[in-house]
């Protein structure tokens, strides 16, 4: 019914060492279509995308471009042939600026670089994406969400026939996701073949003309637009029915565990005050760059901050993560690649890094570490082909699960989770929500910072909304609703100040 496929996989198998990850995949991308590839964490989505994009070679089988064996042997050559990939992990040089990264490998200018033209081109791209990132900003200084937007801008700047996007929305907020979708719609109209993956199934419903469901490295379901409901997708992916993924909230709140007054984290966050009770899940919402991460990092001593912090009514001074740990606080970073995990170390070393003293003094007990790892793998459903592999080779979602396991290993009283389910599949998501719920019901306190609106709404007992480094308001109980949160986020609510006073 559609035109011939541009890019196609025929009976593709892929093994890493002795382990086969993909078992005979047949798969095609058609011009002017969005094809969604969905599946659990570790199902092999990123691997398929890397093979399509020339970054990995299949162990057996064929990659066909326009019906002929793909003429490229590397990602760079594939790009020259019009096949562009937005990787799940960032593919930007951290020391270079936004402009420099976007034009890397295709700089303008004959002998000397044409800075002006490249800058203007970058600015145009960024404007097209409606972001306020400066073309001169160094990538290392940008928050992950901005880096993702740069990644998207970079891909758009390549004149693609095939655009492959590996979870581009995972680190974006709703506003940016909308912008992304507009670009995808535009490209589709231009006849570009698009491959999209996401664990947010509503996005798949919204975008996909075709859906392929992957389970354990094999295709288990193919469908056209409208043939699959979100529940259907989830069931096909996981292989069983899913109940409502958000747990019932029945928290009995205890006394105040943390009290923050007049908290400043220069240069962005100012005058934030809030309390956190035992057994409470406190959601923090806000736009990208509203200072949520900075607030959290300030609280756990990762950034210089001023203000009163009382832990169980006692004033405390937290200057480092160690101090925070000492006071029973733990923080899960949103930036798992740069700040969360040591990508070139094994699972075990990563899991125990922040709690090593527990594993024996003076000598670390390997046996105890292995036990902890076994438990973590079970509890968080971490799917690693091998226990002793480098974390960098885990699938994105499994890395996130490991990071969660690592953060919770110290048994903290107060957990601050920044984007808890970034890149995590629906099946595991409900497990993690249940887990958060369980933490709260054990009398611990949880702060959830999330750009995922349903997550905030579904998990929180109370919601704080931040805007431009300040608390824009606070919502509790019945008042927690999407409209109210969005109003505060955007600053359109007239009652915003009143809400804040209410807290």
């Amino acid at each position: 019914m559609t035109a011939a496929p541009v890019l196609e996989l025929r009976d593709v198998r892929k093994s890493f060492g002795p382990i086969e990850i993909l078992h005979g995949i047949d798969f095609a991308l058609h011009p002017g279509e969005v094809h969604a590839l969905i599946g659990e964490n570790g199902a092999g989505k990123s691997t398929i995308m890397k093979i399509l994009g020339g970054f990995l070679e299949p162990t057996s089988g064929q990659v066909l471009l326009d019906g002929r064996p793909a003429p490229y042997a590397s990602g760079a050559e594939a790009e020259a042939a019009g096949v562009v990939v937005i990787h799940q992990e960032f593919n930007l040089a951290p020391d270079l600026t936004v402009t420099e990264n976007i034009w890397l490998g295709r700089e303008l200018g004959r002998v000397f670089l044409d800075h002006k033209a490249m800058r203007a081109g970058t600015q145009a791209l960024l404007d097209q994406l409606d972001t306020h990132i400066s073309p001169e900003a160094r990538i290392a200084d940008l928050p992950v969400s901005d880096r993702q937007m740069v990644e998207i801008a970079k891909a758009l700047s390549r004149k693609a026939r095939v655009l492959i996007m590996d979870e581009p929305s995972a680190v974006l907020t709703q506003r940016e996701v909308e912008i992304l979708f507009r670009q995808i719609d535009r490209l589709r109209e231009q006849g570009v073949a698009l491959l999209y993956t996401s664990h947010r199934l509503e996005e798949v419903t919204r975008l996909a003309d075709r859906i392929t469901v992957l389970r354990d490295g094999a295709v288990v379901r193919r469908a056209l637009r409208g043939e699959l409901t979100e529940d259907g997708m989830a069931t096909a992916m996981v292989g069983r029915d899913l109940q409502d993924i958000y747990p019932e909230r029945r928290h009995s709140m205890g006394e105040v565990a943390l009290e923050v007054r007049g908290f400043h984290v220069p240069p962005l966050v100012h005058d934030v005050s809030f309390t956190l009770r035992r057994g409470e899940v406190l959601g923090i919402s806000g736009l990208v760059g509203s200072g949520r991460t900075e607030l959290a990092e300030g609280l756990v001593g990762l950034r210089p901050a001023t203000g009163d912090v009382r832990r169980n009514g006692v004033a405390v001074h937290i200057r480092s993560v160690r101090d925070a740990a000492h006071h029973g606080m733990a923080y899960l970073t949103e930036d798992r690649k740069e700040r969360g995990l040591l990508l070139d170390k094994t699972l075990r070393e990563n899991l125990t890094l922040s709690t090593l003293p527990r594993f024996g003094t003076p000598f670390i007990s390997d046996a105890r570490e292995e036990t902890a790892l076994t438990e973590a793998i079970g509890e968080f459903d971490i799917r690693a082909p091998r226990r002793d592999m480098k974390v960098g080779n885990l699938s994105g979602g499994n890395q996130q699960k490991l990071l969660l396991a690592k953060t919770l290993l110290p048994d903290p009283e107060i957990v601050i989770i920044d984007e808890p389910t970034r890149g995590i599949d629906v099946g595991t998501k409900s497990q993690i929500y249940a887990f958060i719920n369980e933490l709260a019901s054990e009398g611990r306190s949880v702060i959830v910072i999330s750009s995922d609106m349903p997550e905030i709404l579904g998990l929180s007992d109370r919601v704080l909304v931040m805007r431009q480094g300040r608390l824009a308001g606070e919502l509790e109980g019945e008042r927690i609703s999407e409209t109210n949160v969005v109003r505060l986020v955007m600053g359109t609510s007239e009652g915003a100040n009143g809400e804040a006073a209410h807290g």
Partner: protein, 333 residues
């Protein structure tokens, strides 16, 4: 919203001269100190001396900036210079009977120097990129090899340029154009070309990209191995050029020629603000670093110290202070 996050880093990129203020400040302080200690410090003679002698290390350090920026290292430059000087002198002496004393002989010698430099750089580069051995080990190895070869060529002694040739060649170090000595002119050209190459050409951009994250560079169709190789070759050529300016000064080469130049060149690069791990290079800073290092020596000669034994200590203290100053400036900027 995101604009706060962005406004910070911008300044360091728009105005590289501003962030170079750190080492510049150290340089200015040193000049002031020199002028205070000795009236002749700012005399044209002294300034010419200091600049001219900085030229060798300077050119090498400019090349080293590219190597380090792209994540490499070269420990062999000092002994490479000795080796090139040795071969160059031997070649000129050998060609003398057939060519006679004259400009063509000098040019032939220069050609030999550049060719040997290119070959030596190529050897380093190929071992690093093809054989995939750490630059530290490769160049530690070739450092020993070059040094040994020149000692062997010199039979343990000194290789001397024929006296008559030397007289002809001397002006290349000692005279100049419009009152500016040749080495200074050549160094200035190299520095400017280096700065332009780093900031305004693909080559410089790719060096930074590779040093920052070579996988990303490879994914972006940058020929990582090619660029790396090119940095070593460039450095080899610059060592050759430095040797061309050096030979007329001393007219000879021996096993001790160029001793520890590598350390000085690397130090100049780092003092100038280039990161040792690669990813960010500042040719301009390197020039300032080279000048700082030569000025320290010069100033130590201007004043009478407690004991000459302590020269090294004072030198060490000043180097560290210069960098403290720089970092301090940077973080407050």
């Amino acid at each position: 919203m995101a604009d706060q996050a962005v406004s910070r880093p911008a300044s360091s990129f728009r105005l590289p001269s501003l962030s170079a203020l750190g080492p510049l400040l150290a340089l200015i302080l040193l000049v002031a100190l020199g002028a205070f200690l000795n009236d002749n410090f700012l005399s044209q003679g002294n300034i010419t001396n200091v600049l001219a002698r900085s030229a060798f290390i300077g050119m090498i350090a400019v090349g080293m900036t590219f190597v380090i920026t792209s994540g490499g290292l070269d420990l062999s430059v000092g002994s490479m210079a000795a080796f090139i000087a040795g071969v160059m002198i031997l070649a000129m002496n050998a060609l003398l009977p057939s060519m006679g004393v004259g400009v063509p002989l000098i040019l032939a010698g220069m050609g030999v120097a550049l060719a040997v430099g290119l070959a030596a750089g190529l050897a380093n580069g190929l071992l690093v990129t093809r054989a995939g051995i750490e630059p530290f080990i490769v160049t530690l190895g070739t450092m020993g090899i070059f040094r040994s070869l020149v000692t062997w060529l010199a039979d343990g002694g000194t290789i001397s340029l024929d006296f008559a040739v030397r007289q002809l060649y001397r002006p290349v170090y000692y005279s100049g154009l419009f009152g500016i000595a040749w080495p200074i002119l050549v160094f200035a050209l190299v520095a400017i070309a280096g700065q332009v190459a780093m900031r305004h050409t693909r080559f410089g951009r790719y060096c930074e990209a590779i040093g920052s994250n070579d996988k990303v560079a490879r994914y972006s169709a940058v020929s990582v191995e090619g660029v790396r190789l090119a940095t070593y070759v460039l450095l080899g050529l610059l060592v050759g050029l430095a040797t061309i300016m050096y030979v007329p000064r001393l007219g000879s080469a021996s096993g001790s020629t160029g001793m520890l130049w590598e350390l000085e060149a690397i130090a100049a690069v780092i003092i100038g603000g280039t990161a040792l791990k690669g990813g960010y290079g500042r040719v301009w800073g390197t020039v300032v670093g080279v000048l700082i290092l030569s000025l320290i020596d010069n100033i130590l000669n201007l004043a009478d110290l407690v004991s000459p034994y302590l020269n090294g200590a004072i030198q060490g203290v000043i180097i560290v202070l210069a960098v403290v100053l720089q970092r301090g400036k940077k973080s407050s900027a």
